[in-house]
């Protein structure tokens, strides 16, 4: 029997100990009319060999074009050591570390993770993960409403330069609690939120969201935006790309006082693309509002003999203690992904991560330059970018992408569905995994498609 070890003798002895004749007797408290018929819609079981053959065929079926698309998920090199260690059974098959003494491996690793994320964002503290970048932003909005006691408006300013999917997820999650998201339009020249366009008397605002880099790849004027928000009594929520943090000003240093809450998608830190998940959301904040943070938090303490050890802490915020008054309903998070991210950051180190960031920036610039030489292809915005850029095309984007796809190229993200005013545009990205040959191939294919 697959994954059931019982011998016939075992089963017989166990039934006798229970005082019943058959396993069926153990279900005698279930009203008979509830008993299900056979599961005819499910195929008979197959062994590992047969399933392996099927899955290999399915995996091989999907084309793997050369990828120049980011839009929230980025192809990066992942050192082999990362997943070799992450999938050790001791990490892979453990539960949430409720029994701290029997989970010091996971707990110490998460304490290291919290430290690394705090360092990367220049924030004081971090939690041990949320589901993904989009839900992390939703939780950050809910946290801001709890933390900003002076604001009564439950009003969040949400730039249109925030990932459109994130905006959708935030709306789906927070609208139940009477929170309104007010969209801020972007500057059509820069593709960023122009601080000069912000009102001088905005009224009661709970928080301002600042994406860095933003969905167009452009860098926001985070210092000015942060100071503006703080002047008007709003908290600042940064939503950032962790790779970019190696080279651009981290949110803890934005403006005079720094961001209050920082969140983002952790996928770039050693997590494969994998059709969208599992990834992980991260969240950092100023220590003075840590009691409003959702999710697991690990703290250092000592044991009976004074030896250093780690535990889940501030649990009075969480659903298993506080129930209907908890900071969030989250229980299971994305633990194994943070394990991989921690090992990734340790193996890469500050120099490695900076190298990745610089190479992504340089590659995307080189790609944009090369594509920009093609007739009718030009950049749309003039703000500095990190590793993504919006290009205008001389033809409808869907058509161009289809042509590129036939040539084995996944050419970028079509912005027109989310930004109707940006028709015939394409968001492109070249990470450190693309080389000159790849970029030449893209340029050649695009020339053909546009010819």
């Amino acid at each position: 029997m697959p994954f059931i070890p019982h011998t016939e003798d075992d089963t017989r002895a166990m039934l006798a100990a229970c005082g019943v004749d058959s396993i069926e007797d153990l279900f005698d408290e279930i009203p008979p009319e509830l008993r299900a018929d056979a599961l005819d819609g499910i195929p008979p079981g197959r062994d590992e060999l047969a399933v392996s053959r099927l899955l290999h065929a399915r995996a091989a079926q999907d084309a793997q074009p050369l990828c120049f698309t980011g839009a929230g998920a980025y192809e990066h090199h992942i050192p082999a050591a990362v997943w070799e260690i992450t999938t050790r059974g001791e990490y892979y098959s453990a539960y949430t570390p409720y029994q701290a003494e029997a989970s010091q491996g996971t707990l110490q690793l998460l304490y290291e993770f919290q430290t690394m994320m705090s360092e990367l964002t220049a924030m004081e503290v971090a939690n041990a993960s949320l589901y993904d970048g989009a839900t992390a932003l939703a939780e950050a909005v809910l946290m801001a409403v709890r933390a900003n006691r002076k604001s009564k408006a439950r009003r969040i300013l949400m730039p249109r330069t925030v990932h459109p999917r994130y905006r959708g997820v935030v709306q789906a999650i927070v609208h139940h609690q009477g929170i309104t998201l007010e969209l801020l339009d972007y500057d059509t020249a820069g593709g960023h939120i122009n601080p000069a366009s912000l009102p001088t008397t905005p009224g009661d605002i709970t928080a301002l969201v600042i994406p860095q880099p933003n969905f167009f790849g452009a860098l926001e004027d985070a210092d000015a935006l942060t100071d503006w928000a703080h002047t008007h009594g709003a908290l600042v929520i940064g939503v950032v790309n962790p790779t970019a943090m190696a080279v651009i000003t981290p949110p803890g240093e934005w403006g005079a006082a720094g961001a209050d809450i920082v969140c983002g998608e952790g996928q770039p830190l050693g997590i494969p693309l994998a059709s969208g998940g599992p990834y992980f959301g991260f969240m950092c904040c100023k220590q003075k509002i840590v009691r409003q943070m959702p999710g697991r938090i690990i703290g250092a303490t000592v044991d009976l003999e004074g030896k250093r050890g780690y535990v889940l802490t501030l649990q009075a915020r969480e659903q298993h203690i506080r129930r209907s008054k908890a900071t969030s309903n989250i229980c299971t998070n994305q633990g194994l992904m943070t394990t991989a991210a921690t090992i990734y950051m340790a193996v890469m180190g500050p120099a490695g991560l900076e190298g990745v960031a610089r190479q992504c920036h340089a590659n995307t610039r080189a790609l944009v330059q090369q594509l920009g030489e093609i007739d009718g292809v030009e950049t749309v915005f003039d703000r500095p970018t990190f590793h993504e850029t919006v290009l205008r095309l001389p033809r409808p984007t869907a058509e161009v992408l289809a042509g590129l796809s036939e040539r084995g190229i996944f050419g970028g993200f079509d912005l027109s569905a989310d930004y109707p005013e940006l028709d015939n545009t394409l968001l492109v990205c070249a990470t450190e995994t693309r080389n000159e040959t790849d970029m030449d191939a893209y340029a050649a294919a695009l020339r053909e498609v546009l010819a």
Partner: protein
């Protein structure tokens, strides 16, 4: 050398300035020409500077400080810590799956979409629901999706007086927390002395303000809610809907379908019943199943299949009344893939066998522990896939708590059962052996419990000081919460 002798420093304490892993970064670099000085980072983040070997050795050593299914019996009630077949990880990690960008065109994703579509179909069949959306990323997010659908359903009918969600007092904390997130107030329903929902209290609680009830069946008390049909009738007659928390589906897989019990919407914890790993805290997957009247509100995306047999993502255009997206993409796709692989290996007979042997193991362990003198919280009842033992007598005399037992079990090489949940049973251990454990493993657990009881009777201090043989002795939770130390700081 015992584990206690090994003290592994933090990765930051292994760090040496200037140590760089050239194998990972030799080719990397480039100018930051496009980024003006004012936007650049001034000081590098203080990430550890260690060799690849340092990192591999450090994280391997840390792993050895964990209990896990692969190393220990882990009877953590409500968590279904069954064996996670290695094939599921190996096959879900094929490069063709891992390399796929989430925004890839459907025509480039037919392989993965076929797997997900078949999983949707299998989950529909085994739960008796009309449709399934795979996107929620854990049980709690499935609950959120479910309660948000209940709200959308009432809203669509213009029925906006329903402000309350009913939750049994034994419910998992995520249930009331979810109801609050969805903008509802929570009313608790007491449990009767047999472990069932108190029917009179329920009748008194329902009304035109009732949006729905969240129930787990088998309940968190490890017993089957026998009057489920009656409960469904009471709630439905009041105009409310029934939400099924599928955390305990392992007990009834293929035996009873939640759809047949009268539930309108359910979630499943694939990281429990379908054996995807818990990863030291996650990721999980919490697909939702709905009855026909809730189908328009399902969270997107859902995998659809057109007449030609091609698969595609259904989005807001196909489901305009959807409660929306709950993740940037398709939730935890890699976890869904593992569940799919597991389901293929089990097949239709294998699924029913899970419930058979999970139930046999729980009832056997309960019988043996009862014979060994332990008290069950609900002595007259059958165990389902789990059961509750109460140490309230031991807490009085000789004066040891469920926590003391739990910590001493660690010394005996067993992960502790769930302690102090459900909250309504004093000094409880919620014990869930799962079907993948052998009789021999269960017998060894009984021996350990018996030995610990004897130790307690001889000298309570033996238990109070436990554990002794783990990397640390008992840890001070109070200090951790009072003197917050949430990250390492470089010494000035």
């Amino acid at each position: 050398m015992t584990q206690r002798a090994v003290c592994e420093p933090l990765i930051f304490e292994h760090s040496r300035p200037g140590r760089v892993n050239r194998a990972q970064s030799a080719h990397l670099g480039g100018e930051l020409n496009g980024i003006p000085e004012s936007l650049r980072r001034k000081h590098p983040p203080r990430l550890p500077e260690v060799s690849e070997l340092d990192a591999v050795r450090h994280y391997t050593r840390l792993s050895q400080k964990n209990f896990s299914i692969d190393t220990h019996f882990y009877p953590l009630g409500s968590c279904t810590m069954k064996y996670n077949p290695r094939a599921c990880n190996t096959l879900a990690s094929l490069p063709g799956f891992l390399g796929q960008h989430p925004l890839s065109a459907a025509r480039d994703s037919q392989g993965i979409l076929a797997c997900l579509w078949e999983l949707q179909e299998m989950l529909k069949e085994v739960t008796g629901m009309s449709a399934v959306s795979l996107t929620p990323m854990a049980g709690a997010q499935g609950e959120f999706a479910g309660v948000a659908m209940i709200r959308a359903y009432h809203d669509a009918r213009g029925d906006d007086a329903r402000t309350e969600i009913l939750v049994p007092d034994a419910a998992h904390g995520t249930n009331p927390a979810t109801a609050t997130m969805c903008g509802y107030t929570v009313r608790e329903i007491p449990t009767d002395n047999q472990g069932d929902v108190d029917e009179e209290a329920l009748k008194a609680a329902v009304g035109p303000h009732t949006a729905g009830i969240m129930l787990t069946n088998p309940s968190t008390l490890g017993v089957f809610e026998r009057r489920i049909h009656e409960i469904a009738r009471i709630v439905h007659e009041a105009g409310g809907l029934l939400y099924y928390d599928g955390a305990n589906l392992n007990a009834i897989l293929g035996k009873v379908k939640p759809g047949d019990m009268g539930f309108d919407v359910i979630h499943m914890n694939l990281h429990k019943t379908f054996s995807t790993p818990h990863g030291g805290g996650g990721p999980g997957a919490g697909p939702v199943g709905v009855s026909e009247h809730l189908q328009p509100f399902m969270p997107i995306p859902v995998v659809g299949r057109d007449d030609s047999g091609a698969f595609r993502w259904l989005d807001e255009h196909d489901l305009p009344q959807s409660i929306g997206r709950l993740s940037a993409h398709m939730g935890n796709t890699g976890i869904l893939l593992r569940a799919y692989i597991y389901a293929l290996m089990l097949g239709r007979e294998g699924m029913v066998r899970i419930a058979d042997y999970a139930t046999l193991n729980a009832n056997y362990l309960m019988a043996r522990l009862r014979d060994a003198g332990f008290d069950m919280a609900l002595p007259g009842r059958r165990a389902t896939h789990e059961f509750i033992l109460t140490l309230k007598h031991q807490a009085k005399e000789p004066g040891v708590t469920a926590m003391d037992f739990a910590k001493r079990l660690l010394d005996y090489g067993f992960h502790a059962p769930t302690t102090y949940f459900p909250l309504i049973i004093p000094e409880c251990l919620l014990i869930e052996p799962t079907e993948t454990e052998s009789k021999q493993a269960l017998d060894a657990f009984v021996e350990a419990m018996t030995a610990i009881q004897a130790e307690a009777e001889k000298d309570v201090e033996t238990l109070k000081g436990a554990p002794y043989s783990l990397p640390v002795r008992r840890l001070d939770d109070v200090k951790a919460a009072r003197e917050l130390d949430l990250r390492w700081q470089a010494k000035a």
